[in-house]
Amino acid sequence: MQTQSDVKVFGFWVYLMTDLILFCVLFATYIVLCNNTFSGPSARQLFSMQEALTETLLLLVSSFTCSLGMLAVYRKRKVPALLWFLITFCLGVAFLVVELTEFSHFLAAGAGWTRSAFLSAFFTLVGTHGLHISVGLIWMLVALVHIGLRPFTAPSISRIFRMALFWHFLDLVWVFIFTVVYGMGHLQ
């Protein structure tokens, strides 16, 4: 805790840890309810592993480009920073499009969140993650405008760093959604 920006990063990290507890409770709910399909479609019948893999790869690459953007910010290079964060933003939008397409397929097949306890838990967990991604995208848009218009200062670099931290955190949560929800659902 040498500087004020270190303190701010620590405070934001504490928020992320409380967010992790939120996701953990939703994971526990999902694991408890995932076999209660109420004669509706099961995880294995419903999930497409190709779609899940596409979403995973989109988020993984976006996490990587986000970290490269952050390196450019440390080196105070505007154009590479803008370019990397713009690529990250586009990948995030692509992720959201694939996820919403998947949800609309489920709804069209009569597998909405009211169908069974399994589907309620699924939509709550994956939907909460999607909501976080949407907020992250808005934040990234604000950061892009900020990088474009203002010079880099110590407080602005710290602010962009917290946005990048949020994005990496969401990718980490998705790794477990891919494994526990899609992977184990498909294995059953």
């Binding site: 840890m17 526990a28 990587f64 986000c66 390196l71 526990v180 498909h186």
Partner: protein, 104 residues
């Protein structure tokens, strides 16, 4: 928030990619690896945990932060809460289910 080389990010990205693809191959066809369902589940969960370690080192610098490990400390205490919630929920609900369904 410190200056790290690009190499660390590339290593993190490539190893995460390999772990994801390995998990995907096991999920799609566990028989090809001679794995039964519980073993396949354990393997993909292990891959996810390794990937968590890789990404939190290369992208977030959780395990290699400079100065006193404040962020790591609060992460480990959160992790203990997570384990209590998840293992506790599964344990209690499993017992509840067994006691409510005596015929099965």
């Amino acid at each position: 928030m410190h200056h790290h080389p690009v190499a660390l990010r590339i290593i993190g990205f490539l190893s995460s990619l390999l772990l994801t693809l390995a998990a995907y191959l096991i999920i799609v066809d566990p028989d090809a690896f001679g794995l039964k369902i519980p073993a396949a589940g354990a393997w993909i969960l292990a891959f996810a945990c390794v990937q968590f370690f890789v990404q939190s080192t290369c992208f977030i610098h959780l395990w290699n932060e400079k100065g006193p490990p404040w962020n790591l400390g609060i992460f480990i205490s959160t992790l203990s809460i997570l384990l209590i919630i998840i293992i506790g929920s599964l344990w209690i609900m499993n017992h509840l289910y067994c006691n409510m369904m005596p015929g099965q």
